[in-house]
Symmetry: C2
Subunit: 417 residues, 2 copies
């Protein structure tokens, strides 16, 4: 099945807005095994939209138009659709009274313009919009499916999911995203070289260097067969790159770290120099993180490292702020200061200035202390200031997760022994 | 002048990659007064690309194709272009030897496949690529301009800027982005209602609620006239929404705050509860921020608020962690702890849980202390956890900037008095 998307809106062509709706629609259709084959992005112009619709209907089984369903003068998609299919726009009393009610509840001052919401091309079905005023429309004709969706992303997502039943006859596809950290994309490709056939189709989505999402797609109708196929593929991945897999689908390094902490009833604190609060910010992006994250220190100046974290004058003078001993003392210092089980620390040179031959921009020391058991590593990251901060933050989150697991495994072993 | 863009790549249609190149090209062409009128996004398929080119050349003065110039089997744009214009692909010895040199310098293992880089459609000019291997091509024919650019964003930007001379005959346009905080988009529109004609064309770009960028565009050939026109428009904006304007073009709330601190030789520290490190992270995104940012505390648990910031037990018990007195004590506490001129603090409920009838999710108290002169405000922000964090962080950064300015103005007045 081939689908063509028509994205309507001057703002998409002027560079004001990135076309995220295309991504949303693609991923939605993929879950039904339908491929988006082409996209036309056109202006808010009746002729442009009409021509795009006519061309798309010729070439595709499914055509989805998005945007231009509002009530300002430049919202002309309704008219263009009606003209393209040679139909009148009909005012639907019951549809409009529902929309009117919504507007009253939200305190909208209703004018005659709002009536536009009640007009639908003759013979089109209506798709509910729970997140906004403009509903979607659809038409099934000659074995083809034609759908019109509102443009605001959260409304589009809602109306699209309300349209799911229109696609269900096309069979099901399961996708699973396998999230990895610690291997480069090229290393993963190398390791999977001679099992690629068994994994296909597999997508590689590098997020930052060392962080790659792998997307598996399995097609079929039988739930059992889907699960069996998926598990077979996951087993292959685990055997080849298992140590890099940190989670699946919506997992993030910070959510997975949170899960480990919660399960082990441990608390954590952060001491950040070059990441400047990003590590704490990521940790606290996870709902419920206040259960295990007690707090953190951003020790940008040396006096903060000394007076809050107890990094000694001698260490700072002899080894420097960007050094292994400083990172270790920061991690241990914050752990003791806030009385947590785990303390993590970063210190490095985010640039663009401050680098030397010996300690270049991008050099970051990262330390983790799990109840006093300390690990410290260093990396030289590439890129600009914010990109270096990001890579350092992810690396220390991943290190913390691994080291807590190791600690727990060891404790378990000792108990058994 | 009308331009059509053809974006080539399966990854754009599968939802893997957002089409940021379209935005780059649009903004580039706008600086020459050229409008992108339509975009075709097509698969890596010779027929698809060829058909899109043929349709585009009919309708537009300028056609830009991007993507598919690599050397893997799915890179077929070269062939499609040659076929669309009915030309052969010619191997350019001198072009290839230059590329070969680059590959050797980068340690690429050269194979026969790399020869593809040396092929150019007959009669096309070459546009240099300083950031990668695949050059761009162009053809001027029948008063129309046809350009082919590589797909990787940083290469596209480079080749596009190397193509600037091809557009210069089309006149110049100056744009200026005016950055505002503290007014809703609808408020700004209302205030500008009867001067809209004098400002036109003006674009409104809401970033988060209360943060709106305004883009002014001035067209013309004469540098003096451009400047005069621009200043006239800026004067109107300042008279209507002056208090909300915090900067221009690449300014951010955090960079502007940094500028004020640097100019006044003041230092700053942060005490964050609900924003969880985001405020410090934004401040430290600015290169050179280590000159004025000493450090910060993320006091997620009450014991961190007490032991690090000196928020008293009584205050926390009587008013609660999310309260005006707590915010004030946090700002003053961190200022004293790290001995800075300015201390800023946030405490609130980021959600999704933890809200009550009296203190709902989204309620945030924000405090600023400038050498002991304290301001505290509260807001109820809408949206999910990360969105609430973001709005609170921006609001406190804006508050800090305003309050430091006020403090400086008052000090000046006192001195004069």
């Amino acid at each position: 099945m081939k689908a063509i998307v028509i994205s309507v809106g001057d703002e998409l062509l002027s560079g004001r807005t990135l076309n995220t709706n295309l991504k949303t629609i693609s991923e939605f259709l993929q879950s039904f095994g339908i491929e988006v084959y082409r996209d036309y992005t056109v202006k808010d112009d009746v002729e442009e939209i009409k021509n795009a619709i006519k061309n798309a209907v010729k070439d595709a089984d499914i055509v989805i138009v998005t945007g231009g369903l509002g009530i300002t003068p430049d919202d002309v998609t309704r008219d263009a659709v009606a003209q393209a299919f040679d139909r009148r726009l009909i005012f639907k009393e019951d549809l409009y009274s529902e929309i009117e009610q919504k507007m009253q509840q939200c305190g909208v001052t209703i004018t005659d313009h709002h009536k536009k919401y009640g007009f639908v091309p003759e013979g089109f079905g209506i798709i509910k919009n729970d997140k906004g005023l403009a509903p979607g429309y659809y038409l099934k004709q000659n074995g083809k499916l034609f759908i019109v969706l509102p443009g605001p992303p959260h409304e589009l997502q809602n109306v699209l999911s309300n349209a799911a039943k229109l696609f269900e006859s096309h069979g099901r596809v399961t996708t699973k995203t396998v999230k990895t950290f610690g291997l480069k994309e090229s290393d993963i490709v190398e390791r999977l070289k001679n099992v690629m056939d068994q994994l296909s189709p597999i997508g590689f989505y590098p997020i930052v260097p060392g962080m790659v999402d792998l997307k598996l797609t399995i097609r079929g109708d039988d739930e059992h067969k889907l699960t069996r196929e998926l598990n077979k593929k996951l087993k292959i991945l685990k055997s080849r790159i298992g140590e890099a897999i940190y989670g699946y689908d919506d997992d993030t390094l910070e959510s997975v770290l949170g899960k480990v902490l919660r399960e082990s009833h441990m608390t954590i604190s952060t001491a950040e120099s070059c990441t400047g609060g990003l590590v704490a910010n990521l940790i606290t992006d996870v709902p419920g993180s206040s259960d295990y994250f007690k707090g953190g220190v951003v020790s940008y100046w040396n006096e903060a490292k000394m007076c809050l974290l107890g990094v000694s004058d001698e260490i700072l003078n002899y080894f420097g702020a960007v050094s292994e001993p400083t990172a270790v003392m920061m991690a241990e210092g914050v752990r003791k200061l806030l009385q947590t089980d785990v303390g993590i620390a970063t210190t490095g040179i985010a640039g663009p200035t401050g680098g030397t031959l010996e300690k270049p921009v991008g050099l970051v020391y990262m330390a983790v202390s799990v109840r006093g058991k300390i690990t410290v590593i260093n990396k030289i990251f590439q890129g600009n200031r914010t990109f270096i901060k990001k890579q350092a933050a992810y690396t220390v989150l991943d290190l913390a997760r691994r080291k807590i697991r190791e600690y727990l495994d060891e404790t378990d072993r000792c108990r058994i022994g």
